[in-house]
Amino acid sequence: MKPVPWQQPARRRSELGMIVLVLLLTGGLYVLAGLGQGGGLPAHIAPFFALVLALMLAAHVALRRLAPHADPVLLPLAALLNGMGYVFIAGLDSTEASAQATWTAIGIACFIATLAFFPQASNLERYRYTIALVGIGLLVLPLVPHIGEDINGARLWVHIGPLSFQPEEFAKVALGIFFASVLAERADLLSTGTRRIGRWLVLEPRYLAPLLVAWGISLVILLAENDLGSSFLFFTLLVSLLWVATGRWAYLGLGAGLFSLGTVFALDVVHHAQTRVQSWLHPWSHFATSGYQIIEGWFALAAGGMWGLGPGQGNPQVIPEASTDFILASIGEEIGLVGLAALLICYLLIVGSGLRVAVRSQRSFSTLLATGLSLLLGVQVFVVAGGITRLIPITGITLPFVSYGGSSLVSNYILLAILLRISNDNANDSALAAGRELFALGSSAGGEGARAGAGRQTEVVAL
């Protein structure tokens, strides 16, 4: 009898194995970085191992309990990225490193909480308007006087008491959920024209409202908060989800058109955008000012070359924002093209696993949500890395799981939890389907198979 997909503690076993591997990899990297910096073994090597192990085991045990059939590679990949990021942040700034460790713990806690609060992805759908409101509320939060703060020309930060965070990071997950649920419901309405104008059937304008609202939101963010990266991220998210949901290429075309329009407008009006584009097109002639960061980033990458200078052997401190926006350059300096390729492959695997979760889902909301979240992550990586390597202008957003930054870390762990939740749903759904099949088979043929099938079904239901 072929193995039944839902009866797989093996998935968790292989996850555990990979977590151990990740522990060895990041621990080894941490030790090498400490030695490379000439300080001997890192001072907190034992607590480091203990903390990473404890956090990863907590997440792992939570998955065993709350989503036992979820995809096994997502958590170890995130852990590897998080661990690598920590090692490089620790090399740059020890206070940032301890903050990052705290944020990792909070991220894992939120990861577990997300899994616990939402036993099924469809629970998210139920709260979509609340979530959307929260998302938009978070987006405008930095604009509120007294709590918002400008950093590097962009108004992205919120300070409430001792807490400071970038609400945009959470908003992107919230809006992802909202878009997915709206589109799951209205995909049919949005895919065919219902109003006749002359010879053409065109879309009912009110169905287009979400697209326009999203475009409006992204423009508002761009203008009010100077956050080019996030507005691009939101816009791509919505347009690609529209296309995936409806299958209408026209949406991609329309999206590209609106985006160009927005870009032209932004370049005309937003000074911040002009500077970014100037330093993108002519970084060398702006070396002393806006081009400095990108060129120092290049020098770091070039110094790293194929194999890198070795962990702890580089001088990443030269680059401004080395631990956040430009952490990729710091990593490329010390572990080279080979290390960066491995890093990119990690992201590709996460995005790929996320999309696999999307494809396997039987519910259109889950499919769209998993697609949206995976693409968010992938596009974010491209926007950051493309900015550093000058494929596109620099926009200050963080590298998921790797960059220093609490909001980014926590929101990405929540994103991961949702992907895993959907993945677990898929396994349950297919187990149910398989159970029904077996049950049907069993009732006609009778005998052991039927009892086994029934038993499994109850087990599944009990979950």
Binding site: I295, G304, G305, G352, L355, S364, F382, T389, L391
Partner: protein, 495 residues
């Protein structure tokens, strides 16, 4: 659902393409374009790497650390320190992030920054541990300079502008080399660019030019110290002139000058044979000797004593003393007469004058000057040590002996100009110099070596910007400095 899944897969393919684009661009930056980026003049990573490595120490002959790298908490990992501050600035130079290196820091940069090449693959557990934990260390530079003698030189100058150079005549090893004004290399080595820039600005706008070490980078009018060379020319080229008696005069009408008269210092009258002229530093007498000697012989002698040649010292930017070419005296005998007493356009670097008297002390052979005694590796093993070798055969042993007698007379004769350089129980040979600079101040010199016979130290002392007076100030101002150096060194040597 199938349509959706197809589009999700397409979106996945698009994500792959984006990551691929990143990978291609990273290949371009990290591999294909990397050399160009690494060599870009805007790229300061090399310098930063140097600042992030430990750098070898510079250690004086008496074991005092003159420069060292200590771990620092900022972005460069190591801070260059000069524990002796301004005392050795003209020797060690500086190690600056913005302004590069100077002095020994520049000359021995590769030895100080290069790490031990003898790193082998580890074969035992202990070696593996060391392989990962011990940093390859750079070499240390050990000098011939004595910290305590340098300190005496600084104390003796007592803030006055000038220079002291002391050399071991038999090896060319520099025992002390101090210049005033000096500077604090710690400020130029600061990792705070504004501190660095401010100090650099201040040093470069200072009219006394602290960065231009008076001891080996600046030329001064040598005054009567040049009479040593003129006397050497007499012995080497026209020995008969040594015994010829020049009549006593107060002034000499210079030929080819339309009646210009050269007067003796303070209007004195003097004359006699070479020994008498030398002892009292008679200007009119030496001018006459120079005229009889001729431009060719005088220029040739100056050249064989290393004038117009940059001393091969292990420091960057050393200057050469200047003596005009022989043809410049053609139909300009007045200039020849003045040049013979160290006036006109003759200019001397304190280091060169010290080398000249060191050559006389060493039987006519000038040893190549050097500061480096040895370079040691991280385990204290000697990587290389300096082998003394001659620079120039300035003159014969016989001439050197005769010149020594002249110089002894300057210190020992009751009417000698250098009586203040006398050291009890030690025979000191010396020569004073007092040079008008054209401005309101004069420069005072004393060059000397001791003990005779078998000299162990040769000294050149310059004290600048002294108000003129009615006496041979080389003898009253510079000679006591030389005496203190010689006395201290010989006492320490014999004990």
């Amino acid at each position: 659902m199938n349509g959706i899944n197809r589009r999700v897969r397409l979106a996945g393919a698009a994500a792959c393409l984006l990551i691929l684009a990143l990978f291609v661009q990273l290949n371009y930056l990290q591999v294909f374009h990397a050399t160009a980026l690494n060599d870009n003049p805007l790229n300061t990573r090399d310098v930063i790497a140097q600042f992030s490595q430990p750098r070898g120490a510079i250690i004086s002959a008496d074991g005092v650390t003159l420069a060292q790298s200590v771990p620092s908490k900022d972005q460069y990992k190591y801070q260059r320190e000069y524990p002796e501050g301004p005392l050795f600035a003209s020797v060690t130079g500086y190690f600056s992030f913005i302004y590069g290196t100077d002095g020994l820091e520049h000359e021995y940069n590769s030895a100080l920054s290069e790490t031990d090449a003898s790193v082998t693959l580890p074969t035992s557990l202990e070696q593996i541990k060391n392989f990962f934990t011990t940093q390859p260390l750079p070499d240390d530079l050990h000098l011939t300079v004595l910290s305590w003698l340098q300190q005496i030189a600084a104390n003796q100058l007592d803030g006055r502008d000038g220079a002291v150079v002391a050399i071991d005549p038999s090896t060319g090893g520099v025992l002390a080399m101090y210049s005033n004004p000096t500077y604090d290399p710690n400020l130029l080595a600061s990792h705070n660019p504004s501190v660095e820039e401010k100090e650099w600005q201040a040093l470069n706008t200072n009219p006394a030019k602290p960065l231009l070490a008076a001891s080996y980078r600046e030329r001064f009018f040598p005054g009567s110290t040049f009479k040593v060379i003129t006397s050497a020319a007499v012995y080497d080229h026209k020995a008969a002139l040594a015994n010829k008696v020049v009549p006593v005069m107060t002034g000499l009408v210079l030929p080819d000058t339309a009646g210009q008269v050269l007067h003796n210092f303070a209007g004195e009258a003097c004359g006699g044979n070479l020994l008498q002229l030398f002892t009292v530093s008679c200007d009119t007498g030496f001018a006459k000797v120079g005229l009889e000697l001729g431009g060719n012989d005088l220029a040739a002698e100056a050249n064989s004593f290393g004038w117009d040649k940059v001393p091969p010292i292990d420091l960057p930017g050393a200057a050469a003393s200047y003596f005009p070419p022989a043809q410049s005296f053609f139909e300009n005998a007045g200039a020849l007469a003045k040049s013979a007493i160290g006036q006109e356009s003759v200019q001397a670097v304190p280091l060169s004058l010290a080398l000249d008297v060191a050559g006389i002390a060493n039987g006519g052979t000038i040893m190549a000057p050097h500061l480096m005694a040895s370079i040691t590796g991280a385990q204290g093993q000697t990587v290389s040590s300096y082998q003394p070798h001659p620079w120039l055969k300035a003159t014969s042993e016989a001439t050197a002996e005769k010149l020594t007698k002249l110089m002894l007379s300057v210190v020992n004769s009751p009417n000698g100009t250098g009586v203040e350089a006398r050291v009890p129980g030690v025979e000191v040979a010396g020569k004073t110099g007092t040079a008008q600079t054209g401005g309101p101040y004069i420069e005072t010199w004393f060059v000397a070596f001791a003990p005779v016979p078998n000299p162990k130290i040769a000294v050149a002392v310059l004290v600048e910007n002294q108000p003129p007076a009615d006496e041979y100030q080389g003898g009253t101002i510079a000679a006591p400095v030389a005496k203190a150096i010689i006395q201290a060194y010989l006492q320490k040597e014999s004990s």
